[in-house]
């Protein structure tokens, strides 16, 4: 390994970091906005008493899978819109890892391409549980 690619890599790293920072910031902003809109809709529609969450029944079945959430959100169900915002939030760091993969590919840093692919695989495995 000569010095040249390392220096080039360092410059790429700085640019990559800026892009990654922006992705995270943008993702959180969009997620918070969607969640807040859903929240306002819930508050304006919900006139009743707060139900107790002292015992665990689990969230509504439709709110536990990607297809259920998106279907309900498409028909403007306020709670499903909140859940959509939370899904966007969960996906934000995943997008960050995917963008790093691209960065490492551009740098031809195959060791870290492999490493990033491993992280993406683990993330995909965890997220696969919402694909029911």
């Amino acid at each position: 390994m000569t010095d040249e690619p390392t220096t080039k890599g360092a410059i790429m790293d700085v640019r990559l970091e800026h892009v990654l920072g922006r992705i995270l910031q943008g993702g959180v902003f969009i997620a918070a906005a969607i969640t807040a809109v859903g929240g306002i809709m819930v508050l304006s529609a919900h006139g009743g008493w707060q139900e107790s969450h002292a015992t665990f029944a689990g969230s509504d079945q439709t709110l536990r899978s990607l297809s259920g959430i998106l279907h309900a959100a498409a028909s403007l169900n306020p709670v499903a819109i909140i859940q959509t915002g939370l899904l966007v939030l969960i996906l934000t760091p995943v997008l960050r890892v995917a963008a790093s993969l691209l960065g490492f590919v551009i740098e031809r840093d195959w060791l870290y391409v492999l490493c990033t692919l491993a992280v993406l695989t683990v993330l995909a495995y965890g997220l696969a549980s919402v694909l029911r």
Partner: protein, 291 residues
């Protein structure tokens, strides 16, 4: 504050008032968590369970969501400073994400009382950790370890107008401790930033600024690994997670700005004592089967 909230739970309350109280409590938790460096997660779960009487499983789900929000929200500010080491972060994320999946699997089979006790021990240690003197500037090891060199775990960080070079050492032990941090994150729905910083700061001997910012960078990815599992289990209740996430996010953004201009050793200590007391109460409630 806690007694007042318990009163709210005993009497029927409108959803609007309930979510407003939850939001306000989360703003305070996020603010103090960012200002003291302990993170919002250490107080969100006690706030929801002990304060609002919410089942710990919903509390873990809401906490996990707020951890992703604060980590990602703060990342942009950190990245600008140029301390984050993406290579080290990515390598260690292999450990934390696999750990997080294991943690989420364990959470599904052990009783909630035990989860409360483990949570108490972890936040108790984090609080004690903040009493120990701040670590000295990492002495740069004379020679980079072979494994670390192979993984190109070196970098530079800005000191004044120049850039200083640093190396990582003891990559193996650091990786193992990161796996533990990942398990705790997946099991308890927290960022376990304290443990991540110990792994990078004390074991791998990275400069403190590098370890704290890289740790923050990793927290969101680690939490995202188990979030899908929790969502599919019904732990993420949107009506609870919404005010908590928005509150913690707002509080932590303000907290990190204040942190940039003010040093708060006294507040840090007071907060650590509060967290210790919460740890005792969580452990007691867990052992007596109330959580």
């Amino acid at each position: 504050m806690l007694d007042f909230s318990c009163e709210v739970i005993r009497n029927p309350v409108s959803y609007a008032l309930f979510s407003l109280l939850l939001f306000a409590g989360s703003v305070v938790a996020g603010f103090l968590g960012a200002l003291t460096g302990l993170g919002g997660g250490v107080v969100i779960i006690p706030l929801l369970t002990l304060g609002f009487g919410i089942d710990i499983r919903y509390a873990i789900g809401a906490s996990l969501i707020s951890v992703i929000a604060t980590s990602s929200g703060a990342a942009a500010a950190y990245v600008r400073e140029g301390f984050t080491n993406i290579r080290i972060g990515m390598f260690l994320e292999v450990a934390t994400t696999v750990g997080a999946l294991c943690g989420a699997a364990i959470a599904g089979i052990i009783p909630t009382g035990l989860i409360a006790v483990i949570f108490a021990v972890v936040i108790g240690f984090s609080a004690l950790q903040s009493f120990s003197p701040p670590s000295l500037p990492a002495t740069i090891p004379p020679r980079q370890s072979r494994f670390s060199a192979m993984l190109r775990m070196n970098g530079t960080y800005p000191v004044g107008n120049t850039h200083e070079t640093y190396f990582a050492t003891r990559v193996g032990p650091g990786f193992l401790l990161m796996s533990v941090a990942g398990v705790l994150s997946g099991l308890l729905g927290i960022g376990s930033g304290a443990l991540k910083v110990i792994a990078m700061d004390r074991l791998m001997r990275l400069p403190f600024k590098v370890s704290t910012t890289t740790s923050n960078f990793m927290i969101g990815v680690t939490a995202a690994a188990s979030a899908g599992i929790y969502l599919s289990r019904g732990y993420i209740e949107p009506t609870l997670a919404m005010p908590v996430m928005l509150g913690v996010l707002a509080g932590s953004l303000v907290g990190s700005r204040v942190l940039a201009i003010a040093h708060t050793p006294v507040l840090r200590r007071v907060f650590a004592v509060v967290v210790l007391l919460l740890a005792v109460e969580m452990a007691f409630n867990g052992l007596t089967g109330r959580l």
